[in-house]
């Protein structure tokens, strides 16, 4: 589905990603793990056009998308969340989720200022769609709240809802359960599995090993920008390189 080839990215001479290649098979959850600073977020940013990779390619079913600007990415059916919440704090929950439908929204200038009935109806349909998504994430009661006033857990769910509302084929999740309590994490974990069962291709970045082992179909391990291991959860669990990469830094990552 999505294949990443020889992806390389340097920040001022320091490699954050060095020649990383792997595939995300369709309808599977591929999980990217690695110690802090390994380059996981950088990889997602390169794939989604937020950063421009120095070398290498990203292909979606054979089409090169590695150099597309970030605003084109959602048109390929790709959606993502950010590690440090990237919501619009002064907009309401509903508006935040609606913004996830930009790809379908009417953004023509003339239609926007005259808002003919067709445009209004279309807007109403999008609004209903967004409300449905809020229901699914138990946020309907908060629809009119400005996101800046919500708890952290609620915000994380708003971001998930925003990513999913457009019905993407591919989803990148950057640490979706970081900072959540056990109950909330479990709910997100279930949601992720449910999405996979619906046929989504998911690239997950996560530090929570219980969750990772429970949901992943395949795991890719990065360390200091290098891909050091790749395999099923069972293989990764016993891979000495991985254990070393983590143990060597256990004090920092724990």
């Amino acid at each position: 589905m999505l294949s990443i080839d020889h992806l390389t990215k340097h920040f001022g001479g320091l490699p954050a990603l060095n020649d990383v290649s792997f595939d995300c098979p369709a309808g599977r959850i591929t999980t990217l793990i690695g110690p802090n600073g390994a380059g996981k977020s950088t990889l997602i940013n390169c794939v989604t056009g937020v950063l421009v990779p120095d070398k290498g390619s990203v292909r979606l079913e054979g089409t090169e998308i590695g150099r597309e600007p970030s605003y084109r990415i959602p048109y390929h059916g790709i959606a993502r969340t950010f590690q440090n919440l990237a919501l619009f704090p002064r907009l309401s929950v509903l508006e935040n989720v609606l913004s996830g439908l930009t790809v379908e929204a009417e953004t023509g200038f003339l239609k926007s200022i005259f808002r003919p009935p067709a445009t209004r109806n279309h807007e109403r349909r999008l609004r209903l769609k967004a409300m449905e998504m809020l229901d699914r994430f138990v946020l309907a009661g908060k629809a009119d709240w400005p996101v800046g006033e919500l708890s952290y857990g609620d915000r994380k769910r708003v971001e998930m809802a925003r990513a999913l509302v457009s019905g993407p084929r591919i989803l990148f999740l950057d640490e979706p359960v970081a900072g959540l309590n056990a109950e909330e994490s479990a709910a997100i974990g279930e949601e992720i599995c449910r999405l996979r069962n619906l046929g989504l291709t998911i690239l997950l970045v996560e530090h929570d090993m219980d969750l990772v082992m429970a949901v992943s179909d395949g795991i890719v391990v990065l360390d200091s920008g290098e891909l050091i291991a790749q395999g099923s959860p069972e293989e990764i669990r016993h891979n000495p390189k991985v254990i070393e990469a983590y143990l060597g830094r256990m004090s920092v990552t724990a």
Binding site: Y71, L87, L91, A105, I113, E123, P146
Partner: protein, 331 residues
């Protein structure tokens, strides 16, 4: 739903349209109660500035950009209309439209390189633009009349009737202002408006959702310049005389003050802010000396208490109160 609830729901659903309608009614009948040309002149001035500040608020308040040079666009509109009508004998309406289009084009050319810039770079570029325009107005006296101004601009006319007194101008400026107000309200409720608000708060996220940030910024910039130009043209025909001092950077700062006081991202706030700043010298006449200090103080106090401006700040506060009360009622 009881009948009362239904009515309330209807009002809530159509609140924007109803408010605009009410404003239109009030202004339509206003001259019946107030026929003093002096006061009509003041409300006309509010209408003119409102057209400018609506556009500026879309740029500053919604899209979260900064412009300290919009008086430059107003100047281009005013002098453009003055030259085309007084010197070349064009029809004022045609001149207004052509000038607005040209100013839009100029804004596009200025905007494409400038809007890549952010924050203080944009502030500087727009200030610089204003200073350049202002200096040209002063120095190029063969065309602009120099520091003493440009006189003899013909008034507008509608179906052959010259719009040459305050009452007639009232019925020209306010319908226009209300039309622009309505279009702006439409825009901010559309997908495009949501995109603008989004990019103002987080460009990376907005872009990742499919909003073409640079294009959206340029669109509002051009729109705000066009509105500024229209305001300038109307200003020129209203007073039949313009001079460069009406378009200095201090005017730009005053326009920004109107927008900011009223509220970043509140179209209605612009109406409030504009009215306040235009009316204040009238009612604070004996404070004439303290005018600047009062302007500045209002700006500083409002921004310290409500960083998003007065109307927006109060609106957000009220909204939160209502939501909290509803929340408590439910639990």
């Amino acid at each position: 739903m009881s009948a009362k609830d239904k009515i309330l729901y209807f009002i809530w659903l159509h609140r924007t349209g109803l408010t605009v309608g009410a404003l239109g009614l009030v202004l339509g009948f206003y001259p019946l109660f107030q026929d003093n040309p002096y006061f009509l002149g003041i409300s006309n001035l509010i209408g003119i500035y409102l057209i400018v500040t609506i556009g500026l608020n879309l740029f500053i308040g919604y899209a979260g950009q900064i412009s300290l040079g919009h008086a430059g666009f107003v100047a281009l509109g005013a002098y453009g209309s003055a030259i085309l009508t007084a010197d070349l004998g064009w029809n004022p309406w045609l001149a207004l439209i052509i000038v607005a289009l040209l100013v839009g084009l100029a804004a596009l050319l200025v905007g494409i390189p400038t809007l890549r810039l952010s924050g203080h770079y944009l502030a500087m570029a727009t200030l610089g633009f204003n200073i350049v325009i202002y200096t040209i107005l002063i120095q190029w006296d063969k065309i602009t009349g120099g520091p003493s101004g440009f006189a003899g601009i013909p008034p507008l006319s509608v179906f052959g009737m010259p719009i040459d007194d305050e009452l007639r101008f009232h019925y020209v400026i306010w319908p226009l202002a209300i039309i622009f107000l309505t279009l702006a309200l439409n825009l901010v409720r559309s997908g495009l408006g949501l995109g603008l608000a989004a990019l103002a708060q987080n460009e990376t996220a907005a872009s990742a959702l499919g909003i073409k940030v640079s294009r959206a910024k340029i669109q509002v910039f051009v729109l705000s310049a066009v509105l500024a130009s229209v305001g300038g043209s109307l200003f020129a025909h209203c007073f039949t005389f313009v001079n460069p001092h009406s378009f200095s950077i201090f005017t730009s700062l005053e326009l920004v003050t109107m927008v900011v006081i009223g509220g970043l991202g509140s179209v209605w706030g612009s109406l409030f802010g504009t009215a306040l700043i235009v009316l204040m010298p009238e009612y604070l006449e004996f404070f004439e000396t303290y005018k600047d200090i009062i302007h500045g103080l209002i700006l500083v106090v409002v921004l310290t208490v409500f960083p998003q401006g007065l109307i927006s700040g109060l609106r957000d506060m009220a909204r939160l109160k209502i939501l909290q009360r509803r929340d408590i009622a439910q639990h």
